[in-house]
Amino acid sequence: MSNEIEDLLARMPLRQPAPSMDAKVLRAPHRGRRILWWAAVGGAVGAAAAVLLVAFTLFPGDGDRVARDTNPPAPVPKTPTVAKTDPAPVRLEQNWSTVAYEGVVAPDNQTPLRRFRRRMFEHVQWIDPARGTRMEMTVPHEEVILIKATAY
C-alpha cells in the first residue's frame, strides 16, 4: 500500500517556482548587503528625525513665524563621534542649530534693530555595550541676536 501511495504522490504535478526565483537567489549576496546598507541609512535618518521631534516639542514656538522663515531650519550635524572599542563606553554627540529672523524692532524707539532668534540643541548619548545600557541627554539653548539695521 505504501508503494502505491508513493507512486501516486510521485505522479502528481508539482507547482513550479517562477523563473525569476533563480535570479533572486543567485544575486542574493548583493541583496544581503543592500539590506544592511538600507538599515544603516534608515537608522541614521530615524535617529535624526527623533532628535528633531524632541527639539520641536521642547520649543513649539510661533508656527506662523517659523513658516515665514526664508531659511528653513536645516539639521547641521556636527558629529565628533567618539567610537571606542568594546567594552569601553561610547559617547555620541550631535548639535543642531536654527536661526529665525523676527523682523525689525526698535527697543528705545530710536535705533532700528534686526532681531534673530538662534536655537541650539545638544544631544549626547552614552552607550555602554558591555552593560547594554544607554543614556541620552538633550540640552536646548536659545539666544536673541540684535543687529543694527542700516538705512540705505
Binding site: M1, S2, E4, I5, E6, L8, L9, A10, R11, M12, P13, L14, R15, Q16, P17, A18, S20, M21, D22, K24, V25, L26, A28, P29, R31, G32, R33, I35
Partner: protein, 167 residues
C-alpha cells in the same frame, strides 16, 4: 562555498521550493523563503563540511517558518495554495485522474506539519532519511516512522474516500 551552494540550488531547486510552499502555502512567500535562506547562507560565510544538502534544506525550512510567523491570522488562512499544480486540460496528458488529484491534495493538506514535511522532503526533494533527519535535527528513526505514519494516514484517507465514492 559559493559553488557548493549554487550546485545545491541547481540540483534541488524544485525540492527546496516545494518544501517552502508546503510550509508557507503561498507561492510568493515560498520564493521569498528560498531567497532569504540563500541570502543568509551567502552572507553568513559558513564553511560547510560534509553533505551541504541537509544544511541548505534546514535553512530554507527555517526561512519558510519565519515567513509564516510574519503572516497575521486571517492572512495566514486566506489563499492557501497547494504544492500541486492543476491538471493538464488534455485528459490523455494526465498522470493521475482528477479525482485522485483532489484526494491526494486534500490528504496531504490534512497531514500534521511534521509528517507533511517528511513526505515532501522524501518524495519531492529526493532526500534520504539520513539527510532529512539531519535537516530537521531529529533522530533517523523518528523521521522514518513519521514518514511511514504519513503514508499510512494518507492511504487510509484515500481508501476511505475511494470506498465512499464507489458506494
Amino acid at each position: 562555498m559559493k559553488e557548493t551552494l549554487e550546485q545545491v540550488y541547481s540540483d534541488h531547486r524544485q525540492g527546496l521550493y516545494t518544501l517552502a510552499l508546503a510550509i508557507t502555502r503561498r507561492p510568493e512567500r515560498a520564493e521569498d523563503a528560498v531567497q532569504d535562506a540563500f541570502a543568509r547562507l551567502w552572507t553568513a560565510g559558513v564553511r560547510l563540511t560534509g553533505d551541504p544538502v541537509p544544511y541548505v534544506f534546514a535553512a530554507v525550512r527555517n526561512a519558510a517558518v519565519d515567513q509564516m510567523r510574519r503572516q497575521r491570522g486571517a492572512a495566514r488562512r486566506l489563499e492557501s495554495v497547494s504544492i500541486y499544480n492543476g491538471l493538464p486540460a488534455d485528459p490523455a496528458a494526465r498522470a493521475v485522474s482528477a479525482e485522485q488529484h483532489r484526494l491526494v491534495r486534500e490528504a496531504l493538506d490534512e497531514l500534521p506539519d511534521a509528517e507533511r514535511e517528511a513526505v515532501v522532503m522524501k518524495i519531492y526533494a529526493g532526500l534520504t532519511f539520513d539527510q532529512i533527519a539531519r535537516a530537521l535535527g531529529q533522530p533517523l528513526q523518528t523521521v522514518a516512522s513519521r514518514y511511514r505514519r504519513a503514508l499510512e494516514r494518507m492511504g487510509r484517507r484515500l481508501k476511505g474516500n475511494g470506498d465512499a465514492a464507489h458506494e
